[in-house]
């Protein structure tokens, strides 16, 4: 009897997963294969063409989302790594204060933060309006409703999710290991490249996952900061679901996005998550 105890103890967690993850996903999968409309009702017809139609119709938005998410993730990595490094190794006893500052924006709602960026970046807003008044910027200068604004918003909103896992990984690097590399004729740069960077790769891996996935699927930034040419796949799902009430198409898009992200993550994990990369870095 005893050996079953751990499983009984895990039961609440399994139930939670079943009710709030497996059931909704199964329901959504079922919906994605139906045909019909809101007035006549939806019938289960196992219509696989929902998928091919959705992909054909929205391939531009799919690719755009992956591109925006990818660019934003790269920018976040480039900006976030040095910040994580600095907090882990140089901030001294003020570490927790800087971590708190990093999380401070989360006390304001995600949508509200994005809208405030909309104000900031407005053509005649506080920033650009003033600069234009001084003649520093040309009258027709604008950022809002461009790709730059959307990617910038994504970077701003998800950056802490890149910094935190990298910080945790760097924090765990034993400082004497860094000294050992320095003692063994490695320059500051070689110490970073051969020792610190490889040891922080698990954090980079987690950070990229935690930013790329939500950034790719995010509808808010494109909606608030983007223009008509910046629509992302998240906006399409939103419109199909809430405006057009086309549940089958919305579900099919969601599943396609999920599949693409899972495949991407799998490839990425095979490349970075294994020890091959670490061994390559050791040479």
């Amino acid at each position: 009897m005893r050996r079953w105890t751990p499983y009984w103890l895990a039961l609440p967690a399994w139930l939670w997963l079943a009710i709030f993850l497996v059931v909704p996903i199964a329901a959504m999968a079922s919906v994605s294969l139906t045909t019909g409309n809101l007035i006549d009702g939806f019938a289960q017809t196992f219509s696989v063409s929902n998928y091919s139609d959705a992909i054909a119709k929205y391939s531009t938005q799919f690719l755009r989302s992956l591109l925006y998410g990818g660019i934003a993730t790269v920018i976040m990595l480039v900006l976030g790594y040095p910040v994580a490094y600095w907090i882990a190794f140089k901030a001294g006893h003020r570490k927790s204060m800087f971590l708190f500052l990093l999380l401070l924006p989360f006390f304001v709602s995600f949508v509200l933060r994005t809208i405030s960026w909309g104000f900031l970046l407005a053509d005649d807003g506080i920033l650009f309006g003033t600069l234009k008044g001084w003649g520093v910027l040309p009258e027709d200068f604008h950022v809002l409703a461009t790709t730059v604004a959307v990617i910038g918003g994504l970077v701003y909103n998800f950056l802490p999710f890149m910094i935190l896992p990298i910080y945790v990984a760097l924090e765990r690097v034993n400082p004497t290991v860094i000294e050992a590399a320095y003692d063994l004729y490695a320059s500051r740069f070689a110490t970073f490249r051969r020792v610190v960077l490889p040891l922080s790769l698990p954090g980079v891996f987690a950070g990229v996952l935690m930013t790329f996935v939500p950034a790719t699927a995010d509808p808010i930034n494109a909606q608030v900061l983007g223009g008509t040419g910046n629509t992302m796949i998240g906006n399409i799902v939103q419109t199909e679901y809430l405006v057009n009430n086309n549940y089958p198409t919305a579900s099919a898009i969601s599943f396609t996005l999920m599949a693409v992200l899972l495949i991407g993550i799998f490839i990425y994990a095979r490349a970075l998550g294994t020890e091959n990369v670490l061994e390559a870095a050791a040479r």
Binding site: T176, V177, E179, A180, Y182, L184, Y185, L278, E279, A282
Partner: protein, 364 residues
């Protein structure tokens, strides 16, 4: 004739830290020379400045004052990666993401040594530290003793001018530690590199070193070979830190040639080499194993004191007596467990303690 240049030279080295707005001197002026191929130990309690001194030799700390010379060349401002000295860290500090071979090859690769040469030297050094066949292991898959030897190989493979070892055996259990002490000595003889060994373990320092610098409170208290340090401690601190010592204090009664006659109690008469004026109080020390314990009055010409046996402890190879003198001073006496295991005296017995005058020393 070329002069014999020392491997390492410290010249008036001082290290100050700023701690909570106050300047703290971790090292208060250390000057010493370490010869080529020597096994040199920095010995002292924690906080005595031995680790800071070693880190200045390695280049991790820059001295506030003074010079660090390596083979006669001033390297005070040279960073660790440009210094031909390697270090074995207390926690080994192996690269966790590399296997044994990559760990050991790290330094040679940074120095851009040819790959064929690296292969040969790594193979050779792994043989010396007895790790051949384990090249592909990760540090976490190895025991503490094996990790220790990887750390040693990783430093030695570069053939540095000197090897610094920071309490390298501290994390090992007693049996393994004793094995590694012998092993370290053998390796040092084989490679002929200068070893600077930092430890708080006096028996380790005595066993392995050619010379020892005993440090206390940022200064070197005594610098000598192990025998000299043990037999003739230069200060109260050294006498107390190295082995077990009996510290006695008494008034000089007379001078007898180059011996002082010191009195403690009525029948006590201690003869000790030294110079002091009659009437002065002197501190002196004598080791427990130099003292003979007897129930009869010893022959004249020996130092002798009377006392009462307190605790008697059986320690296998020897018995340890705690003898209380009339003035309350407690003297420890070791008696070899030689032929039979009988003891000379029991708890509560009145005994005489005696030793040869040349086995005791006055302390500054």
């Amino acid at each position: 004739m070329p002069e014999d240049v020392p491997a390492i030279e410290l010249d008036g080295v001082v290290k100050e830290y700023l701690s909570h707005g106050e300047t703290v001197q971790a090292v208060k002026g250390v000057s010493l020379t370490i010869g080529e191929g020597e096994f040199f130990s920095l010995l002292g309690p924690s906080g005595c400045g031995k680790t800071t001194t070693m880190r200045m030799i390695a280049g991790f700390e820059e001295p506030t004052k003074g010079l660090v010379k390596l083979l006669g060349q001033d390297v005070t401002d040279v960073p660790p990666n440009k210094r031909d000295i390697n270090m074995v860290f207390q926690s080994y500090a192996l690269f966790p993401h590399m296997n044994v071979w990559e760990n050991v090859a790290f330094g040679l690769r940074r120095k851009k040594v040819a790959e064929a040469e690296i292969k040969k030297r790594v193979g050779d050094i792994l043989e010396i530290v007895d790790l051949t066949g384990r090249e592909k292991r990760r540090p976490r898959e190895m025991s503490g003793g094996q990790q220790q030897r990887v750390a040693l190989a990783r430093a030695l493979v570069n053939r540095p001018r000197a090897l610094l070892l920071d309490e390298p055996l501290g994390a090992l259990d007693l049996k393994l530690r004793q094995q590694m002490q012998t092993e370290l000595k053998r390796i040092q003889r084989e490679v002929g590199i200068t070893f600077v060994y930092v430890t708080h373990d006096q028996s380790e320092a005595l066993t392995m070193s050619d010379r020892i610098a005993v440090m206390n409170d940022g200064l070197v208290e005594q610098l000598a070979d192990p025998r000299e340090i043990y037999e003739r401690p230069a200060s109260k601190f050294v006498a107390g830190f190295i082995g077990t010592s009996n510290l006695l204090s008494g008034r000089v009664d007379a001078a007898d040639g180059d011996l002082l006659v010191v009195r403690l109690g009525e029948h006590d008469r201690i003869l000790v080499p030294g110079t002091a004026a009659v009437g002065d109080t002197v501190d002196l020390t004598v080791r427990p194993e130099k003292i003979t314990i007897s129930t009869e009055r010893p022959e004249a010409g020996l130092s002798m004191v009377q006392g009462t046996v307190g605790e008697l402890t059986y320690l296998g190879t020897y018995n340890s007596y705690a003898v209380a003198l009339a003035d309350g001073t407690e003297i420890t006496v070791f008696q070899q467990n030689a032929l039979d295991s009988s003891t000379t005296a029991e708890r509560g017995d009145a005994v005489w303690l005696s030793w040869r005058p040349q086995h005791s020393y006055t302390l500054s």
